[in-house]
Symmetry: C2
């Protein structure tokens, strides 16, 4: 799927990862991606279709636990922390760093959304070749 999407048509030019996680437009697209993949993971776990939005609190918590928080400005509210996670997750998909299937697998695995998204952000951090700092 990702190969045909052509990230070049969608992504802006970013100087570094900090620009990526602070891009609000990318966070808007990421919001839609994250809600869909989370809903599908939950549907698979429950073995019936369902759709739920990801709780912003869980995302912000995952940003802290994964270490991604260190990349963000000190004064930043919970909403912006959630945005950072959403931007990074869809960036990783568009750049073919983390496939939809792998993302789905990780989200299906966690006991709760905070744990699942923490692991997802950690894996993306590893694949991007740098711990968050």
């Amino acid at each position: 799927m990702a190969a045909k999407i052509k990230a070049s048509l969608v992504l802006k030019r970013y100087k570094n990862l900090q620009e990526v996680v602070l891009d609000k437009d990318l966070a808007r697209l990421g919001d839609m991606y994250v809600n869909f993949v989370h809903s599908l993971a939950l549907s698979q776990k429950l073995q019936r279709p369902t759709g739920v939005k990801v709780n912003n609190r869980a995302l912000a918590e995952a940003v802290k636990k994964s270490g991604l928080r260190k990349m963000l400005p000190r004064r930043i509210d919970r909403h912006a922390q959630g945005n950072a996670a959403e931007a990074l997750i869809v960036y990783a998909w568009l750049q073919e760093v983390m496939s939809f299937e792998d993302c789905l697998k990780i989200l299906r695995g966690g006991d709760d959304p905070t744990e699942a998204f923490t692991r997802l952000l950690q894996e993306i951090g590893k694949k991007l070749g740098a711990p968050y700092e």
Copy 2:
């Protein structure tokens, strides 16, 4: 992507297409799917990332124009008409009747959301082997 998703893990057993389009749980998952694919199509058109929810009015209008309305009970409000479109679109993806890429292409093509979703619902109708009635 679709091949690995295993629709059997997610979809209930449906006697007919009318049961599909009236399944509220499936519409919830469909809501997430539709918002994501619509946002990605728009991002590609604008050549920058963005995320927008699909307007329920546009979906309900597409349900009428595509002919899908005929499958639904006479007394059904606009919200439920939008749900029917969302349920059918994600059903088509899970059943591998309409791939994510094809869905994206059709949505990218329309001049406005109503037109794009009308075409999408018509194509899905054709692929499911029956005009809506």
